[in-house]
Point group: C2
């Protein structure tokens, strides 16, 4: 069978439609769950308002940023407006803005569902673990489906309207801009609130987590939503768009050479089947009455994986011209993604030896918690790095025989494969903050210890699964950026042809211009993440001062007098303003460094810059995410009564580890992904300029 490309476009649209309908159904289902507790309603309204406030401010700042970016894009891209076609530049601007808007809408929908699901899940926990799990999971699934549906919709729409992959890069850049704000800004927000709430509440005053007297408690819950739900969603929206973009850039160029459309069709088909697999995986997720939520989450991931592999195999068998080698590449990517997830789990699951080792080391004091965590964090990078390396190598060699350019296309399809189940991944990931919030609401709504036990169990499953999904997300981003390197070279060569310059054949490490770029590029993720962490630190100091002020000035607050309430909004406000203020310099450093390297060393230096950035970025993000997860779970392991339990020396040390790990795993580590994508896209978009203006 050999349908035309149009058929695949239409099929993609219908898949997106199906996903949206299903998401709407799930959202309605969650909304229809009963909720009656007044306290919970009140607090959850505060959370919702806080989240909306943050997102409104964030989007306002983003809008200004996007405006500046849009003007620059209009002036310079794809070619300077005074030298090229004005229409092309307008299309670029529209694509860019569409990228930010699509991602923003998906984030909004996700937050909307999540802030409903959290209170419904809290109340459902009164009935048992089964209904509570389903509410949490389905609330998260709305985010998953919204993100993947809208990313596929956006990509397909841009392709259909413009038939121009450079516009697709613009769309992808828009998505990255938003992800930078949502992930890094949200990451700073959530950790500011978390650290400050813990520092004053738990450490200074000794009041429990989620105690409503703590002025930062609502900000903390808001942070879960804006950092983990919206931030992670934007991050994966970005990765997903980037992987499809990179694959389409190469597919279109391969198709142009043969006057066909088969590779483009294949990318669309696989992307749509990935979304379909996620829909099936989500629909079949279930848990027994006393079932294990971790197992339930993992098993639906495996279902999605299997469905994707089978469906794509069927498509490859049915459609004439689809190559088995490319199917193999995507399957390898997916399988390696799962393996990376499992390896991450080994280093961060508290039933495995590593977490226990760190907990044991904590007995000797906080320095040993840190040293052992850093060490295991370093070691934990190895399996993922090898996994990414091998999947790239296998994908390349599988597809190399198909003709020139197919090898890099194979790598991009491995990334598409790895990201195919991203809908499922986001669902699992958004589940975490929903049930975490539910736990907080259950505490504040005084639903009793039985309910807390259930929400604790749901929360713990969220933490475990989070490590796996995070490893997966980093792995997928790694493969994506490798294929973006290919996209960068395609862009450079397209520009070189137009300018009549020499074509690039690659980036030779022995070329010192490349090497120069590489060393600078390698330092950027370190600087970027350091700036974010210092930002959290500064911001937390401001918030701690505010909490102290409230406890001092609001009479009866500390004693928990009836009717006395802290000024929650002030804390939310500090976290919001500070997050955006601290984020922008870090983002600018990364973008600015790309430009400086490009104008000094030209396109080769930028190639090296991207590689250095990818290599050190992958290493640092894996290290920070895994070490953070490890410390978090070590603390939980000690709190569960091991190594002396709560209040012991080991516990104090483990708390230090967790506090260090929080910005590692929730602010800096996962933001590096976005930084890499932003830098890759800036490089691709500026390639014409780097070709024409550079010192060396």
């Amino acid at each position: 069978m050999q349908p035309t490309l149009t058929v695949f476009y239409i099929a993609s649209f219908f898949t997106v439609l199906l996903a949206f309908c299903f998401a709407a159904y799930l959202c309605a289902w969650v909304k229809s769950q009963k909720a009656s507790n007044q306290k919970i309603e009140k607090v959850s309204a505060l959370i919702k308002t806080g989240a909306n406030t943050f997102m409104r401010k964030e989007y306002t700042v983003l809008a200004k940023f996007a405006l500046v970016a849009a003007i620059i894009i209009f002036l310079l891209l794809p070619a300077p407006v005074w030298s090229g076609n004005v229409i092309d530049n307008i299309i670029m601007v529209i694509a860019y803005v569409a990228g930010t808007i699509f991602s923003a809408i998906a984030g909004k929908l996700g937050i909307f569902a999540a802030t409903i699901a959290n209170r419904k899940a809290a109340e459902a926990a009164k009935e048992g673990i089964k209904p509570a799990f389903l509410v949490g999971f389905r609330g998260g699934a709305v985010m998953g489906l919204a993100v993947v549906g809208s990313s596929l919709l956006g990509v397909v729409a841009v392709m259909l309207f413009t038939n121009d992959t450079t516009a697709l890069l613009g769309f992808s850049f828009g998505a990255s801009s938003l992800a930078l704000f949502a992930k890094a800004g949200g990451g700073i927000f959530t950790k500011t609130a978390d650290v400050s709430a813990d520092l004053v509440g738990k450490v200074e005053l000794g009041i429990p987590e989620d105690d409503p007297r703590n002025p930062a408690v609502i900000a903390d819950n808001v942070g879960d939503n804006v950092g983990d739900v919206a931030g992670m969603g934007a991050d994966l929206f970005d990765s997903n768009v980037a992987s499809m973009t990179a694959a389409l850039v190469m597919a279109v160029s391969l198709d142009q050479a043969t006057d066909g459309a088969i590779n483009t069709a294949m990318v669309l088909c696989y992307a749509a089947l990935g979304l379909l697999s996620s829909v099936i995986g989500i629909a079949t997720a279930k848990i027994g009455k006393n079932g294990n939520p971790t197992r339930a989450l993992n098993s639906s991931t495996y279902v999605t994986t299997a469905v994707f592999v089978i469906l794509t195999a069927a498509a490859t068998a049915i459609f004439e011209g689809f190559r088995w080698e490319i199917w193999g590449a995507s399957a390898v990517g997916l399988v390696v993604g799962v393996i990376i997830g499992i390896a991450t789990d080994y280093f961060t699951d508290d039933t495995k030896p590593i977490v226990k080792n760190v907990a044991r080391a904590s007995r000797s004091g906080p320095a040993f918690t840190i040293l052992s965590g850093v060490s295991y964090g370093f070691i934990s990078c190895l399996p993922a790095m090898i996994g990414i390396a091998i999947s790239a190598l296998v994908a390349y060699n599988l597809c190399d025989g198909l003709g020139e350019g197919y090898a890099m296309f194979g790598i991009s399809m491995a990334a598409v494969g790895m990201l195919s189940i991203v809908g499922m991944i986001i669902s699992n990931d958004a589940y975490g903050p929903i049930v975490d919030n539910a736990r907080g609401l259950a505490e504040m709504g005084e639903l009793g210890d039985d309910v807390l036990r259930i929400t604790d169990e749901l929360d713990s499953a969220g933490n475990t699964v989070k490590a796996v999904t995070k490893g997966f997300a980093i792995g997928a981003a790694g493969l994506t950026v490798i294929s973006m390197l290919g996209a960068y070279m395609s862009e450079v060569n397209a520009a070189a042809v137009e300018l009549g310059k020499e074509l690039l054949t690659g980036f030779d490490i022995m070329n010192p211009t490349v090497f120069f770029g590489m060393l600078v590029g390698a330092a950027i993720p370190a600087v970027f993440s350091a700036m974010l962490m210092l930002g959290v630190d500064r911001n937390a100091q401001r918030m701690v001062a505010e909490i102290h002020r409230q406890f001092k000035e609001i009479k009866g607050l500390k004693e928990g007098k009836e009717g006395v309430e802290p000024e929650y909004e002030k804390c939310i406000d500090i976290a919001t303003k500070g997050a955006l203020k601290e984020l922008i310099p870090a983002g600018l450093v990364a973008i600015f460094a790309t430009l400086v390297v490009g104008f000094i060393g030209g396109v080769s230096a930028v190639g090296g810059f991207l590689v250095g950035n990818i290599v050190s970025g992958l290493l640092l993000s894996l290290f920070m995410s895994n070490a953070g997860g490890l410390w978090d779970n070590s603390k939980k392991y000690v709190e569960a009564g091991n190594e002396g339990g709560k209040g012991s020396e080991a516990h104090k040390s483990a708390v230090v580890g967790d506090t260090v790990g929080d910005p590692f795993k929730d602010t800096a580590g996962p933001s590096i992904n976005t930084q890499i994508t932003v830098v890759s896209l800036v490089a691709s978009l500026m390639s014409t300029l780097f070709l024409t203006v550079s010192i060396f």
Copy 2:
């Protein structure tokens, strides 16, 4: 003027002779200083015996390792013994063994002088800061001159006897093998003792540092010598030999093409002038009666730098055929080295803002000490990475016009330039542990508070300068390994010509085999340093148990009863055995990974592996060395009475930072250099095998 190559060989020999004579004079001068305090004599004899015990054991294990390596070398290198010339293989073995022996002798001489200088410096401090400084500095200078003299001697001897640069690689590999043991093994030893002594002494029992009741106190002092004096010496011996080797490999191949010897002559000339400059710098080092030791150390470094630049300029003007472009490359290397040192100083000097920021953050608890230290540590990598990148770029572009192959030669000469003042650097560096020991001896010899104040000031200067020299050493190692990459390619192509295989033109990042190697290579320094740190941790636990045992079983020890002494040797024994036991797996992982990558992906994958290793290795070693220095000095800053001073919350947090920083800066960080060199040499030596046997 255009003398023959022989003249340069002879001149090199005479420079070495001059350096050795000067070292002998300094050693005799130090020895002639008076010393009378019985207690100090006794303790310093213990330290000397301990250091000798460790080195004997270390050399025994090393001898076994070297035997295995020698057999493998005999069988396989430069070509399998059954296929090639047996004489060549025997030469390789001899060169390899000579590399280990030359380095070992230099280390022995240094330790010999250092263990005399420490007690003489303690007693000289009674007379004032000026004599004490001179004793400390000149004791360190013996090490500096011995290391640089014997490295130049070894390289010249190998070249003269074999006229074969592959044999030089063998010599360099020997030096690296020893450095791996001395630096990493010594690093584990010193931190095991330091951490254990502090943990039980200062934290548990509240007795002062260097208290003679503490069973680990001698081991701690021994550690300063074997880790910092011998380890750092072996590390820089290794870097120095590697930089000369890389430059000579390329010089000889350039000279062969033109049937000349001018480039080889230039390398020898510059190396000899570097040694001569260090002799002059050391000879002119002085301090006023109430002078500032930090300034004295730094100013002799600047003298050496200026002398080297002037002397090499003169040589370039005098000798026909010496190119100014190459002089420029070496000068750029040296200047950038100094700049890197100054940048490092900014991040680690307690009169600069960064150290103060970390001290202030410590008020909020240890988690903030760690977070801010990690963040600034990350940022501190940027100047050095840019510096290395720019010096490579400038050197390349300066020399690129001279003809094919000159560009990479220019980079190697930048490394030679950067390392030219290594004699001075080692002198400054060995000064640190000598005065640190002197402080301990003054305490144990009860020389009174005035003397302690002087030794404290000397010690503090040592710490400040150490950060600078460490940054310098890492920078130099960075440039060296870049030029070793060039040497690796030369070796591969030499082998390819013999085997009739295709020549390599470079390592293209877009080639997934290269990329595969790069990702794996990037993970290795992380794993290597993690294994060393975990080794320190495990070893410290053993020693803490031993200290506890002694305090429990030896009656009167805790109370400080007259005549009761701890069993110092037991602690030394534990540190020694543990260090060697923990080191070997880490070293093998690095070597084994190189082999696996080579046999999977062949020479291109190994090229990528080396690059990944260099990039992430530089980043991590800069990060760990600088963060460690930063924490150390933050603690000292707090102890000087800031942020609440000793005993405050900030102090407790700063101590945690220092404890984390110790293995960072003294074990893992600087050992990564050696790991990179070892891996580069293994790659060069095995290139023929990788060419013939590989999967992809």
